[in-house]
């Protein structure tokens, strides 16, 4: 039996989507502006884009860069954040560096990175890597710092070495916090992906979007926004499912899950 509130929670995001599209449709019809197609017109352009081989290759190239940038960032940031959280020396070394990098918009670094690495995959992937790294480092650091001392002592009494304690106690204990960082990182990966392609116009989903804008194909522009938005929602929902499974042992932090899962 699914309770009525559970059903409500499931269909609420769907209703929000429909509401948003309806409001868009009404606004576009009322304004009658060439550069503002209706929701239906934009949605009609979606299959055209997804059916185009060139466009698909571009979108897949974007997703590949995003996946590589995200994976690399997570692989580096989790160990670094955990080490910072458990070692004062490591934290003292990296903290000033990160404090300087943190508030700088990563897209602002794009011109320099392009200058050094060109407009290809490496430059764009690097920007994604930088965008994802900071929230993951921050949350891993906070998670590691909050691990109960007595839990580590219990492990030490069982004969776990310092390295074993880091991997087998600090990592799982901090996992809920780490995954919160990863979730923020995933959305940031999508944002930096589009931004990087906006600046280095060579390939990718962002490139299609801005090329269409240049050529005045507004239905394509809005269709791309729908596609990128749907990708974001889909990725976030998928990640939230994985996250919920991995940390089902932990005390719930929010009553209302902020997700579409």
């Amino acid at each position: 039996m699914i309770s009525p509130t559970a059903i409500g929670r499931r269909i609420a995001p769907l209703l929000a989507c429909i509401g948003l599209l309806a409001a868009w449709q009404v606004a576009a019809l009322a304004l009658k502006n060439d550069s503002f197609p209706t929701a239906l017109e934009a949605m009609r352009a979606v299959p055209a884009i997804l059916g185009d081989k060139e466009a698909l290759i571009n979108i897949l190239a974007s997703l590949r860069r995003m996946a590589i940038g995200f994976a690399a960032a997570v692989a580096v940031s989790i160990p670094l954040g955990l080490l910072m959280g458990r070692s004062r020396a490591v934290a003292a070394f990296f903290n000033p560096l990160l404090m300087v990098i943190y508030p700088v918009p990563k897209a602002a670094l794009m011109p320099i990175i392009m200058l050094w690495l060109g407009v290809g995959d490496i430059a764009k992937t690097l920007v994604i890597f930088l965008g994802v790294s900071l929230p993951v480092i921050y949350h891993s650091f906070e998670g590691a710092k909050a691990v109960e001392e007595k839990m580590l002592w219990s492990g030490a009494a069982m004969g776990l070495s310092a390295a074993q304690r880091l991997i087998r106690i600090v990592l799982p204990a901090a996992l809920p916090e780490i995954l919160t960082g990863c979730r923020t990182g995933l959305v940031l990966a999508l944002i930096t992906m589009i931004t990087s392609e906006m600046i280095a116009r060579q390939s990718g989903a962002g490139n299609i979007l801005f090329n269409a804008l240049d050529m005045g194909q507004y239905d394509t522009v809005f269709a791309m926004i729908i596609i990128v938005g749907a990708m974001g929602i889909g990725l976030d929902a998928a990640f939230e499912r994985v996250r919920a499974r991995l940390v089902r042992w932990s005390e719930p932090q929010f009553d209302m899950p902020l997700s579409f899962s």
Binding site: M151, W153, S154, A156, A157, M158, G159, P172, W249, S250
Partner: protein, 281 residues
């Protein structure tokens, strides 16, 4: 929870401290200084010397802030003393080890592991095969009265149940000494009493050496062979009291026993005198 089988009353209940005892733990002139701020030092423990014999149940009793937990952490190897030394079977303690098993007031269970996973953790770490570790752990879980809860996560358990798991988890790797740091301090009075009874029942089976930190006089008298009374600022040993009560001890019988009552009253008076003398502000 079912009543655990204990040793029959027919057996002679020897008080372990009276046996020709060998020293398990020797604490030798231990002092501990904590830096509270840049220029202020706080003397948490001052010149503590204490010997704990094998198989003895020794409680450290004192007001909060007397350094009794710190003393236990030093024996555990979790904290290094500023001066002096603690020895286990003649060897100076420098680090934690599976020969000394802690049970903390905060339970400190691994929340990502089930009850069974928690209890199996120590034996697995020591290289016991999975099937064997699981079988031993299941038996221990049954012994602490949690049969049927093997696959529960800690968040699904009450405080008392969590502490039972913590005790089973520590017993699972067969430490020679149990280090119990106010283990029942976070529990309600009813749960606390039940756990005290069960702890005694379990302890009376194999008589491990126990170092038990508490601020409850009743608890210390009920459980211990010997009580080390501490005062604070700085933490010192005020007095050591041997508790000469027969074992196995039954709570209901003991509460009516004038000898038990006298111990409790005497110890409380001693602490009160200390208050008047400014020893326990």
């Amino acid at each position: 929870m079912k009543v655990l089988p204990s040793r029959s009353n027919g057996m002679v209940a020897q008080v372990p401290t009276r046996q020709p005892a060998t020293a398990m733990i020797e604490i030798d002139r231990v002092s501990q200084v904590f830096q509270t701020s840049a220029r202020k030092d706080h003397l948490a423990l001052s010149d503590i010397s204490l010997t704990i014999e094998e198989g003895a149940f020794v409680s450290i009793l004192g007001p909060s802030g007397c350094g009794k937990s710190t003393l236990l952490y030093i024996v555990g190897g979790f904290v290094s003393p500023t001066s002096g030394s603690a020895k286990m079977k003649g060897k100076t303690i420098t680090a934690p080890g599976p020969d000394r098993g802690p049970v903390f007031q905060e339970f400190a269970l691994f929340p990502w592991k089930t009850v069974l996973g928690n209890v199996m953790y120590g034996p697995r770490q020591q290289g016991v095969r999975d099937a064997e570790a699981a079988a031993q752990s299941r038996a221990l879980i049954e012994m602490v009265g949690l049969k049927g809860y093997e696959n529960f996560f800690p968040k699904e358990l009450s405080g008392g149940m969590k502490q039972r798991v913590a005790l089973a988890r520590t017993l699972a790797y067969h430490p020679e000494v149990l280090l119990m740091d106010e283990p029942f301090g976070a529990l309600d009075a009813h749960t606390r009493t039940r756990l005290q009874n069960d702890l005694l029942n379990i302890w009376e089976r194999d008589r491990k050496t126990v170092l038990f930190v508490t601020h409850s006089v009743d608890e210390a008298v009920f459980l211990s062979d010997r009580i080390v009374m501490m005062s604070r600022s700085p933490g010192r040993i005020r007095q050591v009291v041997d508790i000469d009560l027969p074992r196995p001890r039954r709570r209901t019988e003991l509460l009516l026993d004038p000898r038990y009552q006298k111990y409790v009253v005497d110890i409380e008076r001693m602490f009160d005198d200390g208050d008047e003398a400014g020893l326990n502000p």
